[in-house]
Structure formats: C-alpha cells, structure tokens
Symmetry: C2
Subunit: 147 residues, 2 copies
C-alpha cells in the first residue's frame, strides 16, 4: 500500500472557507473540474469529469471545518478502493490543508502522475480561496503528455 | 518506509537536456536553488542552500541521459539517509521525468510539505528546460507558512 501526501497553507483564510471549497459543487468546480455534479451530502456520490475521464467519490466523512473523506467508487482501476482525506486546521494567518490519497495497491507510474497533478490542483484550491479564481479543468495546469 | 513520487513531461526536450539540468551546478541553480555549490561528479557532494536551511547530497549514481541518484548525507533529520532518484526517458516530443524521494522513516507532516514542494520545483525544472527560466529559491513558489 502506498500513499500520496501533500500540504498547503491557504493565507488569510479560515478553515471553514477551505472546507466550503471542498464540500460544495460550486467550490469544487472552481479549482478541480468545472464538470462537477452529484450529491455532496454524507453518503452521497460526487461525479468529477475531465476530458480524459473521471472519478466518482462517495462522501464518507464530513466534519465541518475539520475533515473530509471520500471513498473512490468508480474511475480508473488504480483509484477504485482508494481514499482521499482532507484535514484542516488553522495556524496563524493560514489554514493548513493536510491531504492524503491513500490505499494505492502498487507504486505504478500513474501514481507518480497523480501525485504531481494533485499538487497543482491543491495550488489551484489555494488560489481560488485566496483570490477568487482557481485553475480547474479544462483549464488546469498541464504537467506532461498525460495532461 | 514511505516515498514521494512525481512525474512530469518536459516538452520539446531531449533526455540529455533534462539530465544536464539535474547534474550541473548551472542547471540545478536554475530551477532548485540559486545557492548550489559543490562537486557534481560521481561520489561528490552537492550543497543546496535555502533561506531556511539546506541539504547535502552525495552523487550515488550517474547514467548519462537516463538516471541520477543522490544519497542525502546532511540536512533535516527526516531527510538524512533518504534517497532521491531521477529516471528519464523519451516519449514522443516529451522527456518523461520519474522522480522518487524514498526511504522516509515516517509519514510526518514535513513529508506532506516536501511532496508538494518537490512538485512545484519539478514544474520549475520543466519551465527552465522549456523556456530558459525556472523559479529557483529564493524566488520559488510559496505554498504555505513553511514556505
């Protein structure tokens, strides 16, 4: 089992603002993919779609302003059965985001790609909350031939 | 043990160009830190310095245009004893960079930070080779309160 880890700090933002950006369709479509639909309530399934495919995430845990956890229920075979967890806390002027995409069965090349891609999307989340404008798909940062 | 993984594709670049950017003082100071000194030959030690501290890397393996491996011999305690490996290959118009920082003893919060920070430095490496200008420290992308 292998995990992808990241940490960003969102400046001049309360945890609740970051929480809103990862728990509402409006927020999620502002930094990850404009094509975000579904049910963001506990137990609901959110559909994230990209030109290359997409992911369905079941909302497994919601702790307002503190933690969000998604179970991946559909998408690339490497993702199905993995979990994405977000932990938020405040440190001074920053909301710290601890991100973990855990439960990868193997360290495949696609995992390398997803790790870098998550980093650029987390920077997009940071920009969205700090400036009001993120870089969601289809206008996301291109990192390679795999997009 | 835990690893940090990343993958980028450098467009319109041959593996040798990316290899040069990670094996010469001139290249390294163009995307990671301007304060890079030391001996880049096999068995040599390279000193990377940042406003917050730095790392000493021993050049453990050099395979021209294909692979570079560094053993971390000094720096933050979490880094000492870990290894950074770069594998390069060409795919169409891209040089693919597979990056691995392996051998972390624990999944500490600093590992989350370093994972995201490596991603932004890899994007800096990509920009350096593609455009001639990277974003090395002290003008690197700020991701949080930890810089």
């Amino acid at each position: 089992m292998a995990d992808i880890l990241h940490r960003i700090g969102v400046e001049q933002a309360a945890p609740q603002q970051v929480y809103d950006a990862i728990t509402t369709l409006d927020g999620l479509s502002g930094w990850w993919t404009e094509n975000t639909t579904g049910d963001t309530s506990p137990g609901g399934v959110i559909q994230f779609r990209f030109p290359q495919g997409g992911f369905d995430m079941k909302v497994a845990e919601l702790d307002a302003g503190r933690r969000v956890r998604w179970d991946i229920v559909d998408g690339p075979p490497e993702w199905v059965g993995t979990t994405v967890q977000w932990d938020l806390h405040q440190e001074g002027d920053y909301t710290i985001v601890l991100f973990k995409h855990e439960g990868w069965r193997e360290q495949v090349e696609f995992m390398n790609h997803c790790s870098t891609k998550w980093a650029t999307f987390l920077m997009s989340l940071k920009r969205l909350v700090e400036t009001g404008k993120g870089e969601p798909s289809p206008n996301d940062v291109r990192i390679s031939d795999w997009h």
